[in-house]
């Protein structure tokens, strides 16, 4: 039994002794106090969840709605769904890798004492503070092949920008949206990893120094293991966000050109609100939920810091 649980049960046992009447009214008060939050949770989380399950298990045809596994069966033959799923995984994996390594490098760099550290730390957080919609609109303008700042600058530097159509090119569109995501969310990785670095005590470093380990060895054997909890949190939060990415892609490309950058959330949105097929949208949302859970469980298993007993 974990320590906390043992502690609680011991407490309740002792409270039970000789004060039988009190227990009842303690309980009543306890229930009364948590009741509002339970009610809110039931109304806003549990009920919609059950409703969504029911919805995903219904198919409407000819004006009548009936129980069916049709929505889930359709997933496997829907090439739009499979393509959107593929795009989401590519997007998430690439953005996560870039953001993690860049964020880690920046965190390590700005963890050292250096001139202008405060300025850089504050400046780095700006993209993260901006609303995603604003970031999307600004980048959409900058990436415009004809009027945009990026091609304008490149042209001045003598680069031939004729084929650099960024969000309009099937080859570059995915790259463009990933780059924008990395621009906005690397600071988030940086922030959490920096906090993690600062929580590491000095002693292990001193020990490593005494043992004569190189900078790389220190990083590999001291910093990384001790940073694991922060890495876990950062990767977990970012992955969940990336898998359900919607706003920046919606504004930058709306999933285009063609279907090149359509992510699963966009396709779910379209299915529900443009095509009014809520059952199928709910089914797709469940697949996304399951995938997110599997990936999260995997992280926790791999990166969990085992308590040394």
């Amino acid at each position: 039994m974990p320590r906390s649980q043992r502690f609680l049960s011991a407490k309740s046992r002792s409270a039970g002794k000789g004060r039988g009447l009190r227990v009842g009214s303690d309980r009543t008060l306890g229930y009364a106090l948590v009741a509002p939050s339970i009610a809110v949770l039931l109304a806003l989380s549990i009920y919609p969840l059950i409703n969504a399950v029911t919805l995903s298990l219904h198919v409407i045809s000819g004006g009548t709605s009936r129980w069916s596994l049709g929505n889930f069966a359709r997933l496997f033959s829907d090439q739009f769904f499979l393509a959107a799923l593929g795009h989401t995984l590519i997007y998430s994996a690439s953005a996560l890798t870039i953001e993690f390594f860049l964020g880690l490098a920046l965190a390590v760099l700005l963890n050292h004492r250096m001139r202008g550290r405060g300025f850089f730390r504050a400046g780095l957080l700006v993209p993260m503070m901006l609303p995603t919609v604003v970031v999307g609109v600004v980048w959409r303008l900058m990436l415009n092949p004809n009027f945009g700042a990026i091609n304008g600058t490149l042209k001045r530097l003598g680069v031939n920008t004729a084929s650099l159509t960024w969000t309009s090119s099937p080859r570059l569109a995915m790259l463009s949206v990933i780059a924008v995501d990395a621009w906005q969310w690397t600071p988030f990785m940086f922030l959490i990893l920096l906090a993690g670095l600062q929580a590491i005590p000095q002693e292990p470093y001193e020990a490593a120094l005494v043992d004569g380990s190189s900078a790389w060895q220190t990083f590999r054997n001291v910093t990384l293991p001790l940073l694991k909890p922060a890495i876990l949190v950062a990767l977990l939060l970012r992955t969940m966000d990336l898998l359900r990415v919607f706003d920046q892609v919606f504004i930058l490309t709306e999933g285009g050109p063609g279907f090149a950058t359509e992510t699963i959330s966009l396709y779910i949105y379209r299915t529900a609100f443009r095509f009014s097929n809520f059952g199928y949208a709910a089914a797709m949302s469940f697949v996304l939920l399951v995938i997110t859970n599997i990936i999260s469980a995997f992280y926790i298993r791999v990166l969990q810091v085992r308590e040394t007993g």
Partner: protein, 445 residues
């Protein structure tokens, strides 16, 4: 012990305070939620709630509602939503039978969906009880036909309020300079686009290139809207008589090949262009020809936005194998089946679509749906493209009338965009689009 009992009593005191707070909060919440359910406005039956889109069309109806309120004393609530949310909002509310709206504005491609689900009032009984002869002869038939289900001949569920249809926009100064005549066919358009594209490499004010043509080929509505007039002119049809999709017919593939040919004279990246990019190219004078909607016309004479003041001309769609036909895009007004004040709503509907009121809406920037207004001297003086707009509207064609249009248009648009971005050939795109549309229809059967 003493200390103990004291702390016990203080815990007891705390408990009763908390319980008191909790029960009061609960009671207050209960009272608020109960009183919230009562809507005081319903009592006199003189309140109407309108769902409108936020944009120039909705603004005109909002203004009209204020005038109506001042004239009749009927109180009007306006629920305003952006275009993309309006459809989902209305569909959800009408399906849930909340009766939240007495009148709804809807874009005509949504109409079949609302009509097949029987979410709107049949206007015939209301017309009869009001002794009104409506819609009168003045309405453009192509516009009134949109509000009937089945199309053109069925029962009337909605009246047309704003009468848009596509026009061909072109630079008359460049056409005159290169001795080009007003394009009557798509081949004329292609030839003109090619000439301007080759000759005007330093044609803009700051010595930049002028592209021969510009179009929207972003997936979804944009690509489909810019393709349909070409598709129809080349003899393409979305469906055959039995309702099977036929976009990959020889005519359909030829039309897409022609669109890709026009794309060679369009600015790079047009495969993701939407209305904004096309508008920017025309206003900046960096493109010469385009299909567009009348809402853009007024911005060409605005010195703050336009570098082409007095240089644009507007005409009807060019033809090819078939005469040119524009896509129609009308805003309709309907009364939901569960509206709370149907009679009052109907009075307002008749009033708002009368010639007098529609003229005021036209002056606020919305093309009318009445012939008399398209030739009204005051309006033509203000909107010189009205005669061309009337010709375009009268010969216009609706998007295929199916309740699943949103989904079909989305799929079709994806393949059109893929062809324009070079991902697929014209044949591949049309074959795959056809298969996908067939799948949608099969599923929804």
């Amino acid at each position: 012990m003493r200390i103990n009992s004291e702390s016990n009593s203080s815990i007891h005191g705390l408990r009763s305070v908390l319980l008191a707070i909790f029960s009061t909060t609960f009671l207050v919440a209960l009272i608020i939620s109960l009183t919230g359910c009562r809507r005081p406005e319903q009592q006199n039956g003189k309140t109407l709630t309108l769902a409108v889109n936020s944009g120039v069309e909705g603004d005109a109806l909002k203004q009209a509602a204020l005038d109506y309120e001042a004239q009749t004393g009927v109180h009007i609530n306006i629920a305003e939503f952006p275009y993309t949310n309006l459809f989902e909002k209305e569909l959800l509310d009408l399906n849930a039978r909340t009766g939240a709206y007495d009148l709804i504005m809807l874009d005509d491609p949504w109409f079949p969906r609302f009509a097949t689900q029987q979410l709107m009032m049949d206007l015939a009984p209301l017309l009869q009880s009001h002794g009104a002869k409506w819609p009168d002869e003045d309405f453009v038939p192509a516009s009134v036909a949109l509000g009937r289900e089945p199309y053109q001949f069925g029962a009337l569920y909605a009246l047309p309020y704003v009468g848009n249809s596509q026009l061909l926009f072109y630079r008359k100064d460049l056409f005159a300079k290169h001795n080009l005549k007003e394009p009557a066919t798509w081949d004329d358009v292609l030839a003109a686009a090619k000439t301007i594209n080759q000759q005007e490499t330093e044609g803009t004010e700051d010595g930049g290139k002028i592209y021969g043509y510009v179009m929207r080929a972003a997936q979804g509505n944009a690509a489909v809207a810019d393709f349909m007039p070409i598709f129809w002119a080349f003899g393409g049809e979305m469906f055959d008589a039995s309702g099977r999709p036929t976009v990959n017919s020889a005519e359909g593939i030829a039309a897409l090949k022609f669109m890709l040919e026009l794309g060679k004279y369009s600015p790079p990246g047009y495969a993701s262009f939407n209305a904004d990019e096309v508008g920017a190219h025309l206003l900046q004078g960096t493109a010469a020809i385009s299909i567009n909607w009348p809402a853009w016309i007024s911005s060409f004479s605005d010195p703050a936005k336009s570098k082409v003041i007095g240089k644009m001309e507007f005409t009807t769609m060019p033809g090819a194998k078939n005469p040119g036909r524009a896509e129609i895009g009308n805003w309709l007004i309907a009364i939901p089946r569960d509206a709370k004040n149907k009679d009052a709503a109907f009075d307002f509907l008749l009033w708002a679509t009368s010639a007098e009121q529609m003229k005021r809406s036209a002056l606020r920037g919305n093309p009318p749906t009445r012939r008399s207004l398209f030739i009204d001297a005051e309006l033509v003086a203000k909107f010189p493209a009205y005669p061309a707009q009337l010709r375009s509207l009268e010969t216009s064609k609706p998007r295929p009338r199916t309740p699943f249009w949103n989904e079909i248009e989305n799929a079709f648009g994806i393949y059109l965009s893929k062809a324009n971005s070079g991902e697929l050939s014209a044949e591949e795109a049309m074959n795959q689009a056809n298969a996908e549309i067939a799948k949608i229809l099969e599923r929804e059967k």
